[in-house]
């Protein structure tokens, strides 16, 4: 199941709501969270089994293995198990397919990628690593670990939640009006990002750079900028929905995005983009390798390894490795240029402004590597991007620009303008003067309008799975 789906939104969620209320009532009479947790596990497994009924066995096996090995103190074995599973199921076709073809010409390897495997294996690894390093204790109850790993809001596309972050919440949690209001707000915001922005932008992307290579530089630029916005709205929309649903259920998940395109440097970008993944690689790869405190060659090695792995995590294709390497090199460059700055930015104000602009350009160019998994098409795209030139009557470009002008403006503003700060300002200076009922009605009406618009767009739309569920 995916979040941006009518059945999920308007059948699954109401059923879950009813079941949770009933479970809460039962739990309130007998103390504890047992029934609520059981309901959540049941719905999470149903959510996963909806599209992956066979691979739910792999998921359950993964949980049991993790639980048993952590209890036995064999965390290393568990980590190896998960890495092997990841390599086999995610990278098997890429790594072993050519070998099979060489050994038996005409045959091809076809291993199905179980949805969410990249996320739930990472959560399992993080749990095992934390138990091993005594950051947390092994969970004696299998059901608790099952809930931690399979909880549906974060099961298939994150955020990558650490065990310690929700350990207490699995034992005891309360849901306040504020939690529900905030949760609903995040869910609707996420849905709107996905359906109203990302899916509409994806049409421009497909048209300009997806179906065929662009013909001119403006087409390439517009296509790439739209993809940069699409992937942000798509993924951050998913994360918003996951965090919102978690909040409504009484869980506080870590944030995954913090206005990444408003970063001041590439280093800063990776502190704001897919933060839970960055945190994972920092804590479980980069620091164990020696981090940034080792000698220069070791630091270079550590950064390159970490970022190549980060890139490769995104998909079983060599372009992702290249994408990671690209960022690794950029990070090394920043480190070399501005080693005394925490954010890796120039000391002078003008330099900082320039570097901020250049960072945006470099990040967007990086999405070009990310988008094309065919190196020939990637090369063709960059050739057009840099040498395609401008045609006086580029009707295709002009048409896309004008037909989507408002969508592009809204997208660019939400990506590159500090709207959170502006909203806070409006809230403090204007909304605060309104009576509470007026604020409630205005916010409710706006959220309802977004919900209705997103629902309208979902009807009859081609199914657009969230991009990150592929990884």
């Amino acid at each position: 199941m995916i979040f941006a789906d009518l059945l999920f939104l308007y059948v699954f969620l109401p059923l879950l709501l009813i079941a949770c209320l009933a479970a809460r009532y039962i739990d309130s009479r007998r103390q504890g969270m047992g029934v609520q947790n059981a309901v959540l596990i049941f719905f999470s497994l149903l959510f996963y089994a909806w599209g992956e009924p066979v691979f739910i066995l792999l998921l359950l096996l993964s949980v049991v293995v993790t639980w048993a090995l952590a209890k036995k103190g064999a965390c290393r074995v568990g980590i190896v198990y998960h890495l092997v599973m990841l390599v086999v199921f995610k990278y098997g076709n890429l790594l072993f397919g050519p070998l099979l073809t060489m050994a038996a010409p005409g045959s091809a390897l076809s291993i199905h990628l179980p949805i969410g495997i990249s996320f739930y294996t990472f959560q399992s690894i993080s749990y095992l690593a934390d138990v091993r390093s005594c950051r947390c204790e092994a969970q004696p109850k299998l059901s608790r670990l099952l809930l931690y790993i399979t909880m549906f809001p974060q099961l298939i596309a994150g955020p990558i939640v650490r065990y310690q972050e929700i350990e207490k919440m699995m034992e005891e949690r309360t849901v306040t009006d504020s939690d529900i209001a905030e949760g609903i707000s995040r869910i609707i915001r996420g849905l709107a990002k996905k359906v109203i922005l990302a899916d509409q932008l994806s049409e421009i992307v497909t048209h300009l750079i997806g179906e065929q290579l662009p013909g001119t530089t403006p087409q390439a630029v517009l296509g790439l900028v739209c993809f940069s916005m699409q992937i942000y709205f798509d993924f951050s929309g998913y994360s918003d929905m996951a965090i919102g649903m978690g909040r409504c259920l009484g869980f506080t998940f870590p944030e995954n995005f913090n206005a990444p395109y408003q970063c001041c440097s590439v280093t800063d970008f990776w502190r704001r983009w897919h933060m839970t993944l960055g945190r994972f690689f920092r804590d479980y790869v980069y620091i164990p390798l020696g981090g940034g405190r080792a000698g220069r060659p070791a630091v270079i090695r550590n950064i390159l390894i970490t970022w190549m792995l980060t890139g490769f995590w995104h998909g079983a294709s060599w372009n992702f490795l290249l994408w990671g390497l690209y960022f690794g090199i950029l990070l090394l460059l920043e480190r070399a240029l501005w080693k005394d700055s925490h954010d890796r930015v120039p000391a002078h104000r003008a330099g900082r402004v320039l570097w901020r602009i250049l960072t945006a350009v470099l990040v967007i160019l990086g999405w070009g590597i990310f988008y094309f998994d065919d190196f020939g098409r990637m090369a063709g795209f960059f050739v057009v991007l840099f040498t395609g030139g401008i045609v006086a009557s580029d009707l295709l470009f002009v048409s896309q620009l004008t037909q989507n002008a408002f969508l592009l403006i809204i997208g660019l503003v939400l990506c590159f303008v500090p709207t959170e700060r502006i909203c806070a300002l409006i809230r403090d200076k204007i909304a605060a003067r309104l009576p509470f009922w007026c604020r409630g009605i205005l916010r409710g009406a706006a959220a309802s309008a977004l919900l209705i618009i997103a629902t309208l767009l979902l009807v009859g739309a081609t199914n657009h799975p969230f991009l990150y569920t592929r990884f």
Binding site: L6, V11, W50, G51, A181, L395, S399, L407, A447
Partner: protein
Amino acid sequence: MKDSRENLIYIAITGLAFMAIVFILLLGKRSTQSELERRELAEFPEITAPSLIRGEAGPAVSEWYADTVPKRDRVLNMAMDVRNVRGIRDTGEETIRFHNVKELRTEPEETAQVTAAPAGEPEKQPEKEPEKTPENGPAANAGASAGAENAPAAAAAGQNDTADAETAQTEAPAEPETTETASAVPEEAYDALPEEAFTVGSNGIIVSGSGSNTRAIMMYGGSASVAKHYAEVVSMYPEALPGVRVYCMVIPTAVSYYCPVQALSYTGSQLDQIRNIMESLSPAVTGINVYSVLGEHTEEPIYLRTDHHWAPLGAYYAAGEFAKAAGVPFPDLSSYEERVVHNYCGTMYMYSQDTAVRDNPEDFVYYVPRDLTLETTYINYTLSDGRVAAENPPFSGPFFQPMNDGNSNAYCVFMGGDAKITRVQTGVQNGRRLVILKDSFGNALPEFLFYGFEEVHVLDARYFTRNIVQYVQENGITDVLFANNVFHAGTKSTAAAYERFLKQ
């Protein structure tokens, strides 16, 4: 979110909106067909143990739920309205909006090979469902709602409506199987290019103009090499049908006459394609040039603005050219009663999803012979997954199927659609009997040929399952007219079908 009372109001309002949608979706009557998309909507899937294990059941239920929302067409229209505020829509008469239009490119020669099935070999059908592109999307799944409205003939004869559900479809010009594309050069330059260089793929839709001048145009695509094969197959007919006159009419579409100058570089040249076909025909086949005569009447409504078809008036001028070549009487329009379906909006609205097309409907005008008594016999096909599964017994019905104003299937006024064999006895006694082998563009032709032939038989290239030689002999046919739009003529399956008719 510090104020609890504010939060409660917020939760109440959003909760109400949410629950309202939940109840509408759960309790509303589920849609079963979409008139806008011209297709039957998904059916609730059969849940079996294998489908559950394969993981097909869950997504199929999700698809059914999303596909069959109550009042789907109304909701779709609202969604289009929302989508259309994404940008600047109307910039006056100079407006040109692109919908899936791409740059035309020269591809390496090897990509421009003929991919037609070898003679006599059945063409392999694609395994995948056709994607919902403007070219093949709604039309590929077309039929259900149109069939419901346009089945009087079948209903009158108590027929199974399966065929008519399909027959009412008005297919878009087919997308060519080859992936050939053309260089972005002015049309005049095509003559100087090697043959493969100007073969093009179907290339999206543009919407131009504003108000009552709004016009949606499908940019041209088609394969020169496949079209040449089409000409070769047509050229087999005179030999296979000795004594029968064979004609070939390749019908241009609106892009040939109404494409704004600025957008010309985004379409292939239909003139070159038609010339290519005509030059490749055997001398025994009479080529009917309708390109020129249509070009002389572009100020008149010879093409529909909101549909991918031509208008009956365009068919009238084309039929005149054919009648001239065939040497049969061809009275002027005063011999016909003009009938109008007002507020007609055709296929291009859903193909382009451009609300300007919907908001500027047109009149669909057709012509009924005043002083002829037509006896029309239909043999409907029962279709399964778009293919002929069975041929039903013959029955009589009207050639013209009345349509109400606003009916988006008005083009189905002729015979109610395509998936059938139609025989019209006109009452004329001149010993001339005509078979029209056609796609849906050919549906508008017969009405103007009833004065010239004592019988007119209409056979669709996509559905005819009999042997054409036998059919011609059994019915005493004297003239065979191939009438295909230029998209279809450049499509592999069309030539393959005509080749198969000689052997099946």
